[in-house]
């Protein structure tokens, strides 16, 4: 579940570095029916619409995240509610700053659309949710 940063995410990180914004208490992982784009608002997100679906909160605390190299990943399981009915067409994900609305900070692609059958639960094991920043490419080649 490797992801990419969005414009809002980049702005957020730069805001943190410049102390112009405060760190969020929580991030919220959304499951989407399409892959988010780098410049997209929550309102434009094609999010799972099942009645029993809600975004999963991940606290912005040290114990919830692991940093290896330039990749930040979830240290603990990220769980969603047990599906009461099939969750169909899950294709992408988005990490947002709000449980229901907000900005898309990171997005990603699940590769192929898949379904969480009724009675099952979407669980992201540690390391599955990963975001990273690549450093400057200016000196990457001669």
């Amino acid at each position: 579940m490797a992801g990419f940063i969005t414009a809002a995410g980049a702005s957020y990180l730069m805001g943190l570095a410049a102390m112009s914004v405060s760190r969020l208490d929580n991030y919220y992982l959304a499951l989407t029916l399409d892959v988010p784009t780098p410049i997209q608002t929550s309102g434009e997100l094609l999010e799972l619409a099942n009645d029993d679906y809600i975004r999963s909160a991940i606290a912005a605390t040290d114990d919830n995240w692991v940093l290896e190299q330039n990749t930040l990943s979830n240290a603990l399981e990220v769980t969603f509610p047990v599906c009461e009915a099939d969750w169909d067409g899950i294709t992408g994900w988005a990490l947002l700053d709000d449980p229901t609305d907000g900005e898309v900070l990171f997005g990603g692609d699940l590769g192929v659309p898949w379904t969480c059958p009724a009675g099952y639960q979407v669980v992201l094991t540690p390391g599955m949710l990963a975001v990273s920043i690549e450093v400057s490419p200016w000196e990457a080649s001669a």
Binding site: F4, I5, A10, A18, P36, I39, G108, I133, P137, W138
Partner: protein, 527 residues
């Protein structure tokens, strides 16, 4: 692996040595100097091989007409000396690429230089970006994602040449190139995005540009899966495009945007945009043409007012909709094209066939004739420290992610180091080649007040001043560190000029001219 990021150059408000306008005097950028428009397509209807790249260089005359154009492909000569390239103009493009999937290809490097009135073609040796040493205005950022599944560009490369002396500034070869935010300067033209497509039957694009209009033909049929973006304006500090259209499916929508008032302080003069309804920073009107158009119809998006030093010129933007093409033009009903105007058009597509890929392309067109700019403010000190441009280091990337995850709090102070060699992204503070003069120390700049964020850019919010007691020679690079000595290098970059200070003479880095901008992309969605 993942995604993210290309770094870019920050715009400097005062240092403009640029293509077609080297001296930055008022009216010096008239189209009479000649203007080059550079377009790129990864495919062309005439070249079904998906690995071919087509590059076109367009020469625009003073009256806005296209005097000629020339194409570049893998096998042919690409400079037509009959084009009448105007003297005094400079070309910027160098491309090497391979026409062979997975192969090394020709990888030839070419320089087009029309400075002598006649284009010359030469070869150049690729160098790294770290060696860029002259001033090319604008925000160049290349995106390279080795993990991206798109391999349509195989060993594609682009090099940039100085508009001032024709020397090579930067080059890059990669599996995947994306130009991201280029040349924002009013009066200059060029640039483009690259389109990728692995499967399917798309033809390439022919982009015809003139000083006042742009026509894109050869598009795939208008379809709900395609979003067209009309963009106008860029943030002065961010190396990213300002997206003005945000439809998720059909049609065209225009919203948002900036205009520029050239009477504003220097740091704001280097971008321009489209504004509707008058006044600065007002949104464009929204206009949707729906999911299907009628060939031949013309759609008026809205009235665009370009503000320049308080003068508002009414303009209208039209979308012309012949079959599978879009034309954009300004239809002035008052006055000449005094202000530089930029239109950015992009198309995003998402293909769900296997392997899935995504493409995003932009064309940037500066629809403007003579650019009237205020005189460049002359610094009250010599020598100047100008145009520092930067990138995020390895430690800087981790620092940002630490901030996000609560592993670290923002530093109360960043320390600016001056270096005799441009730092690399993996250097520590101890490894920097800093000034060795006895009176040299890193300059602390308080966070919260001394640094700012503008969209995706991090920059100095205040002037940074240093007064050496002795000569500090050979200043080439800079680094923003987390400690007064040693420590981590979080952001770094190079000055585009070699700086040599004189004892007792102040060095100053103007507000907003130092920092880094983070670009975003979805090209590395899968790895």
């Amino acid at each position: 692996m993942t995604s993210v990021l290309a770094t870019g150059y920050l715009i400097s408000g005062v240092q403009d040595q640029t293509i077609g306008c080297p001296d930055m005097t008022p009216n010096a950028c008239a189209l009479g100097d000649g203007t080059f428009l550079v377009t790129v397509s990864t495919r062309n209807a005439n070249y079904p091989d998906p690995y071919l790249s087509i590059i076109k260089v367009w020469h625009v005359g003073a009256d806005g007409s296209v005097l000629g154009s020339t194409s570049i492909d893998s096998g042919s000569n690409f400079v037509d000396t009959s084009l009448g390239w105007a003297g005094g103009t400079k070309a910027i493009l160098c491309v090497n690429f391979s026409p062979v999937a997975g192969g090394a290809g020709s990888n030839s490097t070419y320089l087009i230089n029309a400075s002598g009135g006649t284009p010359t073609v030469g070869s150049a040796t690729a160098t790294t970006f770290a060696t860029k040493s002259t001033n090319i205005f604008g925000s160049y950022a290349f995106y390279d994602s080795a993990s991206n599944q798109t391999v349509f560009f195989n060993k594609t490369g682009i090099a940039l040449y100085s508009a001032v002396d024709g020397s090579q500034v930067a080059s890059y070869t990669t599996n995947n190139i994306r130009w991201y935010g280029v040349n924002r300067k009013p009066g200059t033209t060029g640039t483009f995005g690259a389109r990728t497509r692995e499967n399917g039957t798309w033809g390439g694009y022919e982009v015809v540009l003139s000083a006042r209009s742009m026509t894109v033909t050869g598009m795939s049929a208008w379809a709900p899966s395609q979003d067209w973006w009309l963009l106008g304006a860029m943030d002065p500090y961010a190396a990213q495009l300002e997206k003005l259209e945000a439809t998720s499916g059909n049609g065209i929508q225009v919203q948002g945007g900036y205009t520029v008032d050239l009477a504003q302080p220097a740091e704001y003069v280097n971008y321009e945009g489209i504004n509707v309804g008058g006044g600065d920073y007002q949104n464009l009107v929204t206009y949707e043409v729906g999911s299907s158009g009628t060939p031949g119809d013309q759609y008026q998006i809205g009235l665009a007012n370009i503000t320049q030093s308080g003068t508002v010129t009414g303009e209208a933007i039209y979308l012309d909709w012949p079959t599978n093409s879009v034309s954009l033009s300004y239809c002035s009903y008052g006055g000449d094209y005094a202000a530089g105007k930029m239109i950015l058009v992009g198309e995003s597509t998402t293909q769900y066939e296997s392997p899935r890929h995504y493409s995003l392309q932009f064309w940037v067109v500066n629809v403007g004739a003579a650019v009237v700019e205020p005189p460049v403010p002359q610094p009250d000190w010599e020598p100047a420290v100008l145009n520092p441009v930067g990138f995020i280091t390895d430690d800087g990337a981790r620092y940002l992610l630490n901030l996000m995850s609560g592993k670290e709090d923002p530093l109360p102070t960043y320390y600016l180091a001056l270096c005799t060699a441009v730092p690399t992204e993996f250097q520590s503070g101890d490894e920097l080649e800093e000034i060795t003069a006895e009176d040299y120390t890193r300059t602390p700049v308080a966070n919260g007040t001394g640094w700012g964020r503008q969209d995706t850019a991090f920059y100095n919010e205040v002037d940074i001043k240093m007064t050496p007691a002795s000569a500090w020679d050979g200043i080439l690079g800079w680094a923003i560190c987390d400690a007064e000595q040693g420590g981590r290098v979080l952001f770094a970059g190079d000055f585009l000029d070699l700086i040599t200070s004189t004892s007792g003479v102040e060095l100053k880095i103007d507000r907003g001219t130092m920092g880094v901008a983070m670009g975003v992309t979805d090209w590395a969605l899968e790895s």
